[in-house]
Amino acid sequence: MRARFQAGLIAGIFLTGNALVGPGTAIADTLDALAEATAESRQASQIVRQLQSDPQTRLLDVLTAMQGKTATAKNWYLSVAQTVADRDPQQARAELGQFLTRLSEDPDARYWALRYITQGDVGLREQYLEAMLADPSPDIRYEAVALGLRRAGENTELPAQAKQQRYQELLAAARLPEQIREVAKRLKDECEYEVDLLQFMGFVSRWHTVGPFDNQNQSAFDVAYAPEKDYAAGKLDLDGSYSGKTDGLKWQLAETQADDGAVDLNPVYDNEKGAIAYLSTNFNSPAELEGEVRIGTPNACKVWVNGELLISREVYHSGSQIDQYVAPVKLRAGANSILLKLCQNEQTESWAQDWSFQLRFTDSDGVAVQPAD
């Protein structure tokens, strides 16, 4: 019924140029209709123009309506919110202050509210952030950690023990790899406290690998070599032997102790170019959970978990970082099989020689999932 009403509302707006808006539920329905319409920008534009010009459109209604919407739809709402807020910035700031305390609201709406309230007032922004280290909004949390790092770095009179405690609080709050690594560096440099980043960030460090298989002219990204077929058939045999660039290829161990979790294949395969390697391991999850698999690599890659292809990126030497590619994953309690296909091309530039990756699992909040064993 509601869907039919929304369809009628969109049609009405589109045909007449007038939204059937009024106070209360009509505005709410119009806001819902906006989310439905954002796939077709002409219709969404009509609705947004109505909402922006209608004096009945209330700021908090718009922000509340963002909950659960797509990333694209949320941006349409944000623009309406900005226009409405600019009608009376003082009133808007008062309302947004209240909105910010509602932790269950959309995290992007709350971050935007923080920005609007504190626009042009660095001191006020910092006052808010001081109390927001555990905020559910990743953007707010990121700024709170950054502020904590800056303050701790500037405070030369903080006793060593207090400083270490502060950095450990920041380490627990940080989610972005670069912030985690920065806090760990501060702990080491300023407090002589070593964080085992390999373990803390949950990098999968022990793999078996087989290769090299042919990838001349970047031609084999979609060629399923024998290990891939065996994995798909559920009969991957780590004692098996394969024919690749040479015959008799065997699985061998590839491990890392690097604090960024990087597994380097160049020493394993003698800097082979135009080549593909497969890597396999089991991840022992402590429980059944819905989280994310995250890989960083400068090489073209495919990642399967429990037989399902989750990540496929045919990109070579075009930037790399921890958590570069992220996909949702359902982990079973206990063993979860992983197959990774890592492709190297034949570029000759010095910056295009890496053949490496790091992979980890996190929960949906970005906290590393630690293996059960």
Partner: protein, 443 residues
Amino acid sequence: MGTGTWDGNMGSRLTRLGTYSKVLIMADNGRSFNPAHCFLGLVLLPLVQLCSPVHADWPGFLGPGGNPVDARAELPKSFSVSEGETPATNIAWRIPLEGRSVSGPIVVDGKVITTSSSAMEGRWIHVAAVDAESGELLWERSSKSTGRPYCHPTSANAAPTPCSDGNLIFAFFSSNDLVCYDLDGNLQWFRSLTDKHPLAGNDVGMSSSPVVTEGVVVVMVECQADSFTAGLDAETGELLWEIPRPKSANWSSPRTAVCEDGKGIVVLQSGSSLVGVEPRSGESLWEVDLRCSTVASSVFADGKLYVPAGGLKVFTLPGGNLEPKMVWETSRISPNSASMLVSSFGLIGLNRSILVCCDEAGERLWNARLEDAGQFWATPVIAGNLLYAFAMNGKCFVVELSQDSAKVIEECELGAEVLGSPAIYGNALFVRSTDALWKIAAN
């Protein structure tokens, strides 16, 4: 508009008239085309412009017409920031803006439009409008990236320079988010190109700037995983066409050009070809095998297309499906990052940190070394007989041009990183450093 100047530049006026009359015609997708409106636009607009002191808009990357030269502008020969007790000279204002920007500013109807990106991973993207006269922040609008915001630390999500048709602003970001506002900051539409192309992106950062012509916004999204160029209706944001493109990284920008038959086209360059596209349909009119630069963009001026492609190759554009004719080439001008300029002093390119000027036959007229400049990303601009070249480190070389020589007359330090190409509006230079917007004009 206290510093308004009489704009007697007929070429500039005609460019503006052409743009706006096309907007009048195309504004409603032809659904309610009214010849009377077109007539009024054709007759009244130039009259209004002739009777008013106007500034020529700087509506996109490389300025009006796509060649960053304003022969009539008068800019100060030097400027400086304040230092201790010494006040700044010839800097009208500077306003800091949140986040980081490597895009260039544009100026439309007295409003300087600039983009930036901020917050975690540069995911929040911003468009701001600043009063060109006073430096007052008029409005700022924020969105959150729907695509990949990642880039090399040198760059930013806010890398492409926005563009405008005089009524609407089109801001594009490395994350493949395209947003349209009117001049008062009201959202017209928002498109996530990632929704349809989740693999499109380049983690070094994308930087191709959009163009708008004949009611169509054209964006190039060219990278290894999923490469395409798209045309979207300027008024509604609806996708009009999309064409697959070579799967390799490309940071150059689409350019508009007018063929000898009077038809407007969009030119796309890549590491493998040069393509002419009909703006409304996306139809490929011709394609020439050519290893074009994937960083420096082509320039269209005086009826010719100047293409950086292992040196400089110059084409005429007969029109229709006829391939462009290469009329001459030179290896002397070889732009690597900044695009070149076509001026009355000659063709000027920045070969790393050496300015090279050639005549229309490709013969070298002069060289000028810009000492200790470091890296250049911004394309220089010419105002009158002065060329302004901003190095990434914020040092601006002011070069006095003549027909047979050039002389560096000042080296001005802005003390801030500059990667976006500056804009000229009236007798002022608008510069976007990574952290602020600056107006440089005579005190």
